[in-house]
Subunit: 369 residues, 2 copies
């Protein structure tokens, strides 16, 4: 069993993050914030798919104004994503956002107003404290504060961590501890190393993500390795998969990562063999049919579909239901016990029967609990 790093807890709306609470899947609205109707549609979809928190960009005053109209109708707590302009953070707090994300790299001293970044942060921190909302310090390899780029020449993992910790210390000096941190990099190795180093240095909850991981297979792989490696080591309190793709795909992938490491049990886990020269049934077809039967099952059930007798009986022992292909027929196991033998064209019917029994049983168990 994975031993989790136990951090302090922050609260975003009603959602607890850190302190050993379930890892929260989040995503980010992918349309202009002023397009209120589309924003609310995306938030609804996100909630249905299991996101517990959503982030939304506030790049200008129009967006900050739109927040006021969005928040009363939002089905999920919102985190306002602020860059460059601290005044937008103040506006977002006024609009009753549930949390802020600020990027220390790009809130800089300004000559016009004669304000240092310290002055600006102080105003934001005071407002956040009054409204009782947390701040995520969101350091990012693509927008590291210039002074660290100068010092390290490159956004190394040490640079990301040093920048985050400097910001934490500024907030702590202001008496603000309601902090969550991220140190994202588009380089997976740097990302993992940065979070590992950070986890050993601060007591705050961590928001994990590989930034700019792109689209397609490579985005899946980068996010899975980056977030997954940290979760294996018990590090991470909330995760956001960043893909050049839909929020649906981001949230779905987030849950797959959690499921792969046993952080989350939602629906059926399907184990199936890669097929080889030992194959004795049409496994691809069988797996497709089994998938169709299980896709809407909400109960936590393990199903194994195996093509031969080498690893089949072993996986069968571990699964709630297993279908093991033999020559022209299928054997159905239930918790390792053989319960049915069916001809190849009747395997799926036999599977459905056993599946329904198992679902009923799981439902009974839940009622008892």
């Amino acid at each position: 069993m994975i031993k989790r790093r136990i951090s302090r807890v922050v609260k975003i709306g009603d959602v607890l993050i850190g302190g050993g609470n379930p890892v929260v899947v989040q995503s980010m609205v992918k349309c202009p914030t002023e397009d209120i109707e589309e924003v609310l549609r995306q938030l609804k979809v996100a909630k249905e798919l299991g996101a517990k928190v959503m982030r939304i960009a506030v790049p200008d005053k129009q967006a900050a104004e739109a927040l006021k109209k969005i928040i009363p109708y939002s089905p999920l707590p919102l985190v306002a994503d602020i860059h460059f302009d601290y005044k937008l953070a103040l506006m977002a707090i006024e609009a009753k956002v549930s949390a802020l994300r600020i990027n220390p790299g790009n809130i800089l001293d300004s000559n016009q107003e004669n304000l240092t970044r310290y002055d600006k942060l102080e105003q934001v921190v005071k407002a956040a404290k009054n409204s009782n909302i947390p701040i995520r310090i969101g350091v990012n390899s693509g927008s590291l504060h210039p002074k660290y780029l100068e010092k390290y020449g490159y956004p190394t993992y040490e640079a990301l961590v040093e920048s985050a910790i400097e910001e934490v210390q500024i907030l702590e000096k202001m008496g603000f501890y309601d902090i969550k941190i991220s140190v994202k990099s588009s380089n997976v190795e740097d990302m993992i190393s940065a979070y590992m180093l950070l986890a050993s240095k601060v007591p705050y909850p961590l928001h994990l993500g590989v930034t700019e991981s792109g689209s397609g297979i490579s985005g899946y792989v980068k996010s899975s390795i980056g977030i997954g490696t940290l979760l294996y080591h018990g590090i991470g309190d909330t995760i956001r998969v960043s893909l050049t793709s839909s929020i649906e795909e981001e949230i779905k992938l987030g849950y797959e990562i959690l499921k792969a490491l046993g952080y989350e049990k939602r629906g059926v886990e399907l184990i199936s063999c890669p097929t080889c020269g030992r194959l004795e049934v049409n496994l691809f077809d069988l797996v497709d049919k089994v998938k169709k039967e299980i896709e809407n099952v909400q109960e936590n059930i393990t199903v194994a579909v195996m093509g031969c007798v080498v690893n089949g009986p072993g996986e069968a022992r571990k699964a709630d239901i297993a279908v093991v292909g033999g020559k022209g027929k299928g054997i159905i196991y239930r918790k390792g016990k053989m319960v049915k033998v069916a001809q190849e064209n009747q395997i799926i019917e036999a599977f459905k029967e056993v599946l329904n029994q198992v679902i009923e049983e799981k439902k009974q168990e839940e009622i008892k609990v």
Copy 2:
């Protein structure tokens, strides 16, 4: 930079595995071994996609006979996958296979011949030594030797490692050290823990894989986390992604995992942002077009495609070429230096021009090296 675990080296055909050599991507033939024409077609495809070694099932005498006809024409060295029957291993060696995989869990004592599994292994080891080929000890959660199942009640990661080490010791006692090991589990956490423990206990090269990882997103995620976490820690000398899917997909995913951690540089690495309310151009469309331009480029180039000015300039600094979207136009950077500004409908043309310059330059560099 990842510090690799340096193991002993084994040689499969001409391919070196272990000792800090490049991590080898392998896959497994997915049709009956007797279907010689289809086997050879799959081997050809595998080689074209970059697999360096292929495994092939030898479940019966027909398959072992077919090996004799396959091996003289195989474009890649073959590993014969043997279960239950040690005689098939002897036949595969006679057919001049380049390596063996035996599963200690299912070569058992037999009453018929009055042979212990030790007697059987001895015959196989002698033949392997005479032919100068390595043996992979392939322990698998689905087919663990019954005595460990009895002891641990379940294929825990300690059980997998204990079974592997017992087998190693048997081979070592016979004076055989040409060993590669795998301890695959369908449970990602167990798989990672098993290899980590094993890596600390033996000097042999390790073959990584998550077994029975299924199909679709969940297969991608499990393999990426399992193999990726170990590679992040420098563990692993050859990898095999197991998907209920084509060998094409297995090999492609294998390379994506290696690329994500800098083990392999093949073609273009594309970094692109997840899009948000800050987006100022049609990024999905732009990324698709850029992908089309780069898909056949063999040179090792980093391309960033970013939708706005928050992380865009930072990623641009690190990339060989970056396209950063502004309001209705695109800025092209080359190694962080702005080189072109184009209207939105001309961005892709401007990108192609810069891409061709960079490819030419990389080619010149390669000639110099």
